[in-house]
Symmetry: C2
Subunit: 245 residues, 2 copies
DNA sequence: GCAAAGTTGTGTATTTTTTACACATAAAAA
DNA sequence: TTTTTATGTGTAAAAAATACACAACTTTGC
């Protein structure tokens, strides 16, 4: 550090050096892919779109796009979802970055997977370009790129996550019956749960508000309706200490 | 698709298109940073190195480097660890990708964080360039770039992970006492645990092999030594169905 | 050799959580 | 009015988590 330089000039010099260094770095194309799970007709579905790459012309792919200069990954994920589906009130979580050198037939492209879970009825698709549609999870076949693997990893992530956080409530109507809630968990976890124990579990968590209304228009005895107590959940997130493997 | 083209020629054409597309993508410099946790003297430590960027000349940083052309992220992480520390028998897990546009003073650089936990005594540092050293977690101050945030996120990841998987056994000597095991858990989780219940818990998991030896050279009553039953653990990884929030 | 320091090893009672399981009731449809 | 279908509810048993105290063993210092 030359003594006659001002602090600001020195700082500028350091930044210049840093910039030169970064400019010498190799760089790679970076994309974001969104794995949007939705729930409808007691089935878990995932939002897919026909690949616009001719190479994969009959395959479905995830909603993805390139990340722009100086765009944060989170920002890119929300932008892509908005552009492709019109949705803008969805939470997305980053799951994992995929980097296999041959995952894209056009050369090296790295992608960061984001995941969400939402209520299909609250998010009617306004755009149907490229056959954008909700595909049922169990029947999802091959996909373009490594997108099947990405979906599988996001699905595992989701199954784990919904056991730790009550994600599910954004997926149901504001007022829902316990059966609807159970259907949701059964669909996502791909298990069947004991009805009485399931109800007891949720009752003991005390996160449901009994709104004293009944289901309408069901072809059987109607169930009570509940709302989710979001405030209470926010306050009571439990610290988890348990050795459990 | 022109009918007179062979299948191979058509395929080649599609790849050419895909390549042209990818070449038009913007690209970003990509690095990997390794957060290596280690355990020594009943303290959790993390491996840090003086930043070689003059801009951060008095700050510690993580072990990181640029990802090479056509290098998988996992591969890059193992390479970096090997180059900087000489270690080559460490498992690394990808944790998260960090993309804030100003995280690097030289311009946009995206980094993917990898994390591990290892036995410091099994991995004596052979290289000490740039003041590479094990820094105790609780006293870790500011770091270069956003590396403090990366460490914090990896630490949370680790705390959760060690409650789901018995990571800890790679951190102890092959033969260890229950006290050593408990110290490890207490250090990582930053809690204190009931000794009798801790022992009971591990006894009931039946993952420890009593090797019928005692500690040597301890200044108090010696404890029994155990080995971890890796085979049994591999077989019995439990499927986790529980709604727990 | 003896006392002090420090740590090991062990069991039980209590509470909490999980699991398995059956029947009367309500509404709609036939 | 009968059938279909799903709701709502309780208890007993088993398993897991928690709180807690004392005798035994080894080294160290006197």
């Amino acid at each position: 550090m030359k003594k006659h330089l001002t602090v600001a000039a020195h700082e500028e010099h350091l930044i210049k050096d840093a910039k030169a260094l970064v400019q010498a770095y190799p760089s790679v194309p970076l994309t974001v892919d969104c794995v949007i799970f939705g729930f409808e007709e007691n089935k878990l579905k995932v939002l897919v779109i026909k690949s616009d790459l001719e190479y994969y012309q009959n395959h479905y792919s995830l909603l993805g796009d390139i990340v722009k200069d100086n765009e944060e990954l989170d920002e890119a994920a929300y932008r892509i979802l908005k552009e492709r589906t019109g949705m803008n009130d969805v939470f997305l979580d980053q799951v994992r970055t995929f980097s296999h050198p041959n995952r894209h037939p056009g050369g090296r492209v790295i992608t960061v997977a984001y995941c969400s879970l939402l209520n299909i009825n609250h998010h009617q698709l306004k755009i149907h370009d490229n056959d954008l549609n909700w595909h049922s999870m169990p029947t999802l076949g091959d996909m373009a790129f490594d997108h099947k693997e990405i979906v599988d990893q996001c699905y595992s992530w989701l199954q784990k996550r919904i056991q730790e956080h009550p994600l599910g409530f954004n997926l149901l109507p504001e007022k829902f019956s316990l059966r609807e809630l159970q259907n949701l968990y059964e669909a996502i976890l791909a298990v069947s749960l004991d009805r009485r124990n399931f109800r007891k579990k949720f009752a003991s968590m005390d996160l449901l508000i009994d709104i004293d209304e009944m289901e309408q228009d069901v072809p059987h005895r109607p169930g009570k309706l509940y709302k989710f107590n979001f405030e209470k959940y926010e306050k009571s997130k439990r610290k988890w200490i348990g050795i459990d493997f």
